[in-house]
Amino acid sequence: MYGEKVMDHFENPRNQGTIEDADGIGEVGNPQCGDIMKIYIKVSDDIIEDVKFQTFGCGAAIASSSMATEMIKGKPVKEAWDLSNKAVADALEGLPPQKLHCSVLAEEAIHKAINDYRTRNGLEPWEETGGHSHHSN
């Protein structure tokens, strides 16, 4: 059902764990599927210096968390915000159609973590632009 890339990230997840003194934390859950994802970020000079994840969920959810954290690590916060679930799925060389909604969680958890970081620092939270929620695929 899953390709080799997905299985690699699933079996050897990158950036798994927590950050004790995180600058932002985002937790999202999808009760329909039973996936819950928590993202911790450490930001300095507007760069995602470190990122860790914890995931309860299926193979697609775990692999998406791993891939998404790898894709935003070392990137400017705005660039991390713009990471789409489609880009994550593409980087994983595709997910089965019924599993695309699991990869949306990674995008949503990153957004929550970034806005947590922004509010903690007295900044306005960014608005979700929509169009990339579960319902669109």
């Binding site: 899953y2 699933f10 329909q32 039973g34 914890q54 309860f56 299926c58 019924q98």
Partner: protein, 393 residues
Amino acid sequence: MTGDNRFIYMDNAATTPARKEVVEAMLPYMSENFGNPSSLYGIAKKSAEAVDNARAQVASAIGASPKEIYFTSGGTEADNWAIKGAAFANRDKGNHIITSQVEHHAVLHTTEWLEKQGFEVTYLPVDKYGMVSPEDVREAITDRTILVTIMMANNEIGTIMPIAEIGKIAREMGVLFHTDAVQAAGHIQVDVNELNIDMLSISGHKFRGPKGTGVLYIGKMAKIDPLMHGGAQERHRRAGTENVPGIVGIGKALELAVAEMDSESKRIAGLRDILIQKILEIPKTHLNGHPEMRLPNNVNVVFEYIEGESILLMLNRRAICASTGSACSSKSLDPSHVLMACGLPPEIIHGSLRLTIGHDTTEDDIDYVVENVRGVVQKLRNMSPLTPPELRE
């Protein structure tokens, strides 16, 4: 045992490999003995005799008479035929059917379809072990009830239903009783007369017979309409040229399974008990299904804080085949209706694992499975945001 191409198959409730004796018995009926049992010449007679022989094998395995055995294309067809056939044949008597919330979809999707045709269906609840109460059956019967259909043993959690009691109640109240014995036949003793069963479904591939083969037992008292219309096969009740090799296969497989049942079920139940005991040593792990009234081959547990599809994927990487009730592994994204009916919350159901033991399972396999399940559960718990600190490593 875990050499390069070997894998440990722990999904024997899904299907089993056909045994050697069965394949050998079937082979001649694909080529040299290819005759149509309905024809009159010599090789056709051989086919007809083979079908008769299989009918006698099945009849004796369940305490029926050969006249009461009808071959079908599998468990699904047998369930559909029994339920739709009884519903339409007894429409003048009533339109009410009683079943349970934990039946296989072959039953539930059939009764749901009948609801659209104007029938009324009661879906009885189960207790936390997945057991239907016979008294609930009695109370649900009205003067409009034409059929009770309750499975003999559950395919997910292995719970064996109080079929003798339910059969007795249905018989006393004059209502037809069908049971889906797909997981029971060949694994536990089945006697249609002792259990007051009017109709009973069997599937060949669950006891080392061929896939696409099944049986519906129809007792003399049961009046039901055909599902398949066409030729005069199966005494005008199930049309279609007989699947002669398949029929030979299911007959042989059931005969052998029943002959070996005492020793084989004892051995398999012994492995099951070791497996359950060792897996329950993992903290925050619970057994699903009944602790005693349970199929010999079935182990079903839930691990808190983790999800079933990822458990299966990791086990698969370790050459272990298993199954789960998690929503994320199903195409429908619905968590198991059986575990829901047992009262488990969805987040717990997501962490369910079913391991079903078979003829080829050894004690070494059990040790290997336990060791790997333990490791996989820990690996996933370390990854999960839900795991409490004391369970992390």
